[in-house]
Symmetry: C2
DNA sequence: CGACAAAAACTAATATCATTAGCTTTAAAG
DNA sequence: CTTTAAAGCTAATGATATTAGTTTTTGTCG
């Protein structure tokens, strides 16, 4: 093993995640990331080009987010309560990592998304819970709506689209509760 | 008025809108826009820098979208039906203009949003309708949840996050109906 | 102990961007 | 016909992502 490396993919992706969360995606550059490691820009290309790096950052986001939600819905309680906790965990994660959260979900571009399958398995437990409310047949529809409601509320909040005051957390909770009640 | 201008702000913004919708935001540049008008890049800066241009594009998006929704909810029918039509109009608009739709709602950045007040008045009719379902006191919460559900479903769809098949249009409608029922 | 090989990082270059300062062209108004 | 100010142009700067080809490094093997 010649030449002990200063870099590796995992550390790079993690540092990129932090830099983007701190300074915004638009101010992020391969040059700045290289500087963080005391290395020339071109050296990064052994590991990632920018697109692949951002895909890796998005993969980190997915895993952390799903992990947080999974833990939240593992609590005791009736299905609606557990799902509300899951939605709240999602919102909490997003507010702690607003930039990378938006980055992960804003793109229309296949290349920036995690590989297929990374997330599909992970939502099955959620679907099982919501099936207790909506019934099996409608569980996919109900799950998608819940994801949509939570993600929509989070991203409209982060994008500054709710500018009329009021208690946003309360409105979030009321909306999720109403949605789940509607599926009963 | 010396020197008849080849350019004006409105035409530029509209052309930028079309270019972005066609080719994606990332491939859009001041240079390409200038070329479309047979003009040098620097000439655009009399009217817009890139940030202001994108804000103008986003303003166009807001106006068109709100217009489409306003027309949709003006139909006859009970409140839930009219709101469903509004949500569907929003989805239809987004699917016709996916790139600019995402562009308008993805940014955390104040500078890229339309001026305050441009959109606030416009949603008041919607709030009046949903108040018939939720009651006045909860009408803002209920409206925000509906916006969130519709926007969330649209943007998760455009971002390719619903990859498990099924009839997305049907799931969208079922979710909106369930949500509104939950507020009764 | 020294030469080799391959990994890791570097140098150098290209092409694309956004942006600014200052100059030139144009045509309407007097 | 001269003035003048608007509109567009030239030229330059400093980021940016990326690639090709070169140099450095050090474990391994003779």
């Amino acid at each position: 093993m010649p030449y002990p490396s200063k870099l590796d993919s995992e550390t790079l992706a993690s540092a990129a995640f932090d830099m983007i969360e701190q300074g915004g995606v638009d101010d992020f550059s391969m040059h700045k990331l290289a500087a963080e490691f005391g290395v020339k820009t071109a050296s990064l290309y052994r590991y990632f080009n920018k697109e692949a790096l951002i895909q890796a950052v998005n993969t980190l986001t997915y895993h952390s987010l799903l992990q947080a939600m999974y833990e939240a819905v593992s609590a005791e309680g009736d299905p609606a309560q557990r799902l509300l906790l899951g939605a709240k965990a999602m919102a909490a994660y997003a507010h702690q990592h607003p930039v990378t959260y938006m980055l992960a979900f804003r793109n229309t571009d296949d290349a920036l998304r995690p590989e297929e399958g990374a997330t599909e398995q992970a939502v099955l437990p959620l679907q099982a819970i919501i099936a207790e409310i909506s019934g099996e047949a409608d569980s996919l529809a109900a799950l998608r709506g819940l994801q949509a409601l939570a993600h929509g509320f989070i991203s409209l909040t982060l994008a500054g689209q709710y500018r009329r005051g009021g208690d946003l957390d309360a409105h979030f909770e009321q909306s999720v509760v109403a949605y789940l009640r509607g599926w009963e």
